[in-house]
């Protein structure tokens, strides 16, 4: 339980067997390598490692490019759950081996994929070009005069162009000048009309038109009519579109090879880790050495595997030295493992601390149960978690999270059954009703807080004892608890029927306060130093204020439970109101489903946030700081 004890591993072997040792250790995944302190001891230059890494990175880059192309043409669509958990493909060992065997084929495939993508880009650009040409010609679509006739004849001139105002302005100007003309509007877009003018070559028509703002333009065409050219272009566009579609189809088919590339990605990534591990080896001319951490319980397994390799080696395990920083791995009984997730999200314990997972387990369970406070919601949450765990493959971290919510949901079932609340309905008289007796709920919440913070203080005393500091455990923590208890009794004793003992309680409070101050002066040499420590002791007494404000912080459980319960009952009231009306049951069902879904979503979120906050800020404050380094073994 708690923090896993580690052993230091030393392994020496022949240099030429280095890779086999390393890949075996990586497959095993139980050893964290330690970087050698003295760089000078490494005979092997970083150069060789660097070039090997570059080679692998090139491979990885190529694979990532392929995967990016797959993502573009055949995107994986994660469902709502996978957005949290991430998409994963699961392979059997045989499939994995099959894919690895196809490594040669992958090089050919990726070349094919790159070609296809390049071709796709080329086609796309061509399509854009054609589309632009079509767009330019479109306004002239009505012009059925072939391009050969645009230069006019010996006597008649032809003028094509655009104009940004009404065409009659032009014709009026020509008429005023007394010039004979003939004109036709062939098309228009949002801003311009496209016109064609016929006029006698010896007239000033062109000059007059230009003066009015007519801009002579010709469509880009050398032969035939605009309509003919458009038909050609459209046909070309259609052709491009079909080949684009074909190319996309092909890339989509190629994307079915995604698992192969994902596997290779993993493979090269693992190779990279292994090569990087070379940096952590001590190497001589013929021999290499490595040091690492291994969980003490697994040491024999590592030894077995290394011996099974049948290569000459020297393997030695030793206990860690006094001041060494040991990587932290948590291990708990199966019931408590989900709660490790909460500790990991905060910070791992240092090697001299205890693992708080087991300590927060019952309290998180109760806090979550109170905050959610409804058996229906709790059951729903637990069932969702079970379905998730059955339906999707999760990493160990995600699985722990799902278990955490499963257990927390049961907490809500427990509390909901106690207070008789199932989807906001009270079907039988429970212990008490949350809405009718909110004061009682508040007292329960604060009581839970008090118990948890006392537990925290006891734990910190136990930690002092474990570290051999008996004096702090008794003077610091023991007296502190007595003082807090007597303070509590002083304030609330009369309600508990202890009015008769008011006098002794008062004295106990005073005595423990004095003891706290005295305790604070212990260890100080000389009268003056002892006197100087007294203000510090007074400050300790003042610390009771922050202790009780931490207890008050647990009132949030009551607020969350109450607001959830009231919301639930409001929804049920609406359901009841609509039920009686004709076809009201449809609305009632919709209100029930939608309302409770909303309330459920907000409450599981709020309960999680606030329950974990109570552990992190209030509970950990009493005994836990964290800051341990997670155990990071070399693994696949």
């Amino acid at each position: 339980m708690a923090i896993v004890p580690m052993k230091r591993l030393e392994l020496y072997g022949l240099k030429r067997h280095k890779a086999s040792f390393l890949s075996e250790l990586q497959r095993l995944g139980l050893v964290e390598l330690i970087k050698p302190a003295e760089e000078a001891n490494r005979v092997e230059t970083g150069e060789a490692i660097g070039s090997e890494l570059r080679r692998i990175d090139e491979k990885l880059n190529e694979i990532n490019r392929v995967l990016a192309i797959f993502e573009r043409f055949a995107p994986q669509k994660p469902n709502f759950i996978e957005q949290f958990a991430g998409t994963k493909t699961v392979l059997t060992w045989e499939e994995h081996q099959n894919y690895l065997a196809k490594r040669e084929e992958a090089a050919r495939l990726s070349a094919e994929i790159f070609d296809a993508e390049k071709e796709h880009t080329r086609l796309e650009q061509e399509k854009i070009k054609v589309e632009r040409e079509i767009e330019n010609l479109q306004p002239w679509a009505g012009l059925d005069l072939p391009a050969e006739a645009w230069n006019g004849s010996r006597r008649i001139g032809v003028l094509l162009g655009s104009f940004d105002r009404e065409p009659w302005i032009l014709t009026e100007a020509l008429a005023l000048e007394g010039i004979a003309y003939c004109f036709c509007q062939v098309g228009a877009d949002d801003y311009h009309s496209y016109l064609i003018f016929f006029y006698q070559r010896d007239s000033r028509a062109e000059e007059v038109l230009r003066a009015k703002g007519f801009v002579p333009v010709r469509p880009e065409l050398t032969a035939g009519t605009v309509g003919e050219q458009l038909a050609v272009l459209n046909a070309k566009k259609q052709e491009l579109e079909t080949s684009l579609a074909r190319m996309e189809e092909r890339l989509k088919t190629l994307a079915e090879e995604r698992p192969l590339f994902l596997t290779l990605n993993d493979y090269w990534y693992n190779q990279r880790l292994q090569v990087e591990a070379h940096r952590q080896l001590l190497t001589g001319k013929a021999v290499f050495g490595l040091e690492g951490w291994v969980p003490a319980a697994q040491a024999s397994r590592v030894e077995q595997v290394i011996t099974a390799l049948g290569l000459p080696n020297y393997l030695h395990f030793s206990d860690p030295q006094e001041d060494e920083e040991i990587p932290i791995l948590l291990e708990n009984k199966k019931v408590f493992t989900p709660f490790e997730k909460l500790v990991e999200a905060f910070s791992l314990p240092r090697q001299d601390e205890v693992d708080p997972s087991a300590a927060i387990a019952p309290f998180f369970f109760l806090c979550y149960g109170m905050a959610l406070g409804d058996a229906g919601y709790g059951l729903l949450l637990s069932m969702i978690c079970v379905v998730l765990m059955a339906k999707i493959t999760m990493r160990p971290g995600g699985r722990k999270m799902a278990w955490l919510f499963f257990v927390s949901g049961l907490g809500a079932v427990f509390f909901g059954l106690l207070t008789s609340s199932i989807f906001g309905y009270s079907l039988y008289p429970g212990l008490f009703n949350v809405i009718e007796k909110p004061q009682l709920l508040l007292i329960v919440a604060l009581g839970l807080g008090l118990v948890q913070l006392y537990t925290g203080t006891v734990l910190s005393a136990w930690m002092c004892i474990k570290n051999g500091d008996w004096a702090e455990a008794i003077w610091g923590k023991g007296v502190w608890l007595l003082f807090l208890t007597s303070l509590l009794l002083l304030a609330g004793g009369s309600q508990l029927g202890l009015a008769a003992y008011a006098q002794p309680i008062k004295y106990t409070t005073l005595v423990t306060a004095v003891l706290l101050i005295v305790g604070n002066t212990r260890g100080k040499k000389g009268l003056w130093a002892k006197l100087k420590a007294i203000p510090g002791g007074l400050l300790t007494i003042y610390g009771s204020v922050s202790f009780f404000s931490d207890v008050l912080s647990y009132s949030r459980l009551m607020a969350l439970g109450l607001s959830g319960a009231v919301m639930g009952s409001i929804i049920n009231l609406f359901v009841k109101m609509t039920w009686g009306a004709p076809v009201g049951w449809i609305f009632a069902v919709v209100i029930f489903l939608f309302g409770h879904a909303l309330n459920f979503g907000l409450n599981i979120l709020g309960a999680y946030v606030h329950s974990s906050r109570l552990q992190y800020l209030e509970f950990f404050n009493t005994f836990f700081t964290g800051g341990g380094r997670p155990f990071a073994p070399l693994k696949l």
Binding site: F80, I81, Q83, A345, P438, R556, M558, G601, S612
Partner: protein
């Protein structure tokens, strides 16, 4: 008296109005940023949704208090005495006003938390806890509003 009823209704309005405005504003701050993150990486919808929803709770607290008051009016029927009316008004104040400000500020913290989701998704649980810290004060106000409300007898 009619005036008492008026004050009581005003209490409901204050509780629901201000906390609702605050929540709408807070959710919009976080939502705008979340939309930006999702543009870059649509797979982060789920995580950003949680942070965006957090400043919405203040509106719920205000609504719960308002609804409870309305239930109490309905149970009695007829006009509410002046003193009780003013008590309802005062009971609505904490959850309304603290809700208004805490929801807006929580929206800002949630928006910063969405930054964590964007840059270091593995640490996003911590962003949720930070945003949760702001909520404490809305909860305290809700508790006080509730007990003030609970002490009113008609």
């Amino acid at each position: 008296m009619v005036l008492g009823t008026l004050y009581a209704f005003l209490g409901v309005a204050i509780a629901v109005l201000f906390s609702g405005i605050g929540s709408a504003y807070g959710v919009s701050i976080a939502g705008k940023l979340a939309a930006g993150v999702v543009t870059e990486d649509p797979k982060k919808f789920g995580q950003t949704l949680i942070l965006t929803a957090l400043p919405g709770t203040q509106g719920i607290y205000g609504f719960v208090i308002g609804m409870l008051m309305v239930f109490k009016f309905a149970a009695v029927g007829g006009p509410i005495p002046l003193e009780a009316g003013i008590r309802f008004l005062i009971a609505g104040l904490p959850v309304g006003i603290v809700g208004l400000f805490s929801a807006i500020l929580q929206g800002k913290v949630a928006a910063a938390g969405i930054g964590i989701v964007a840059k270091r998704p593995e640490e996003s649980a911590k962003g949720i806890v930070y945003a949760g810290l702001v909520e404490t004060y809305a909860i305290l106000a809700f508790i006080i509003s509730f007990f003030l409300y609970n002490s009113i007898t008609l």
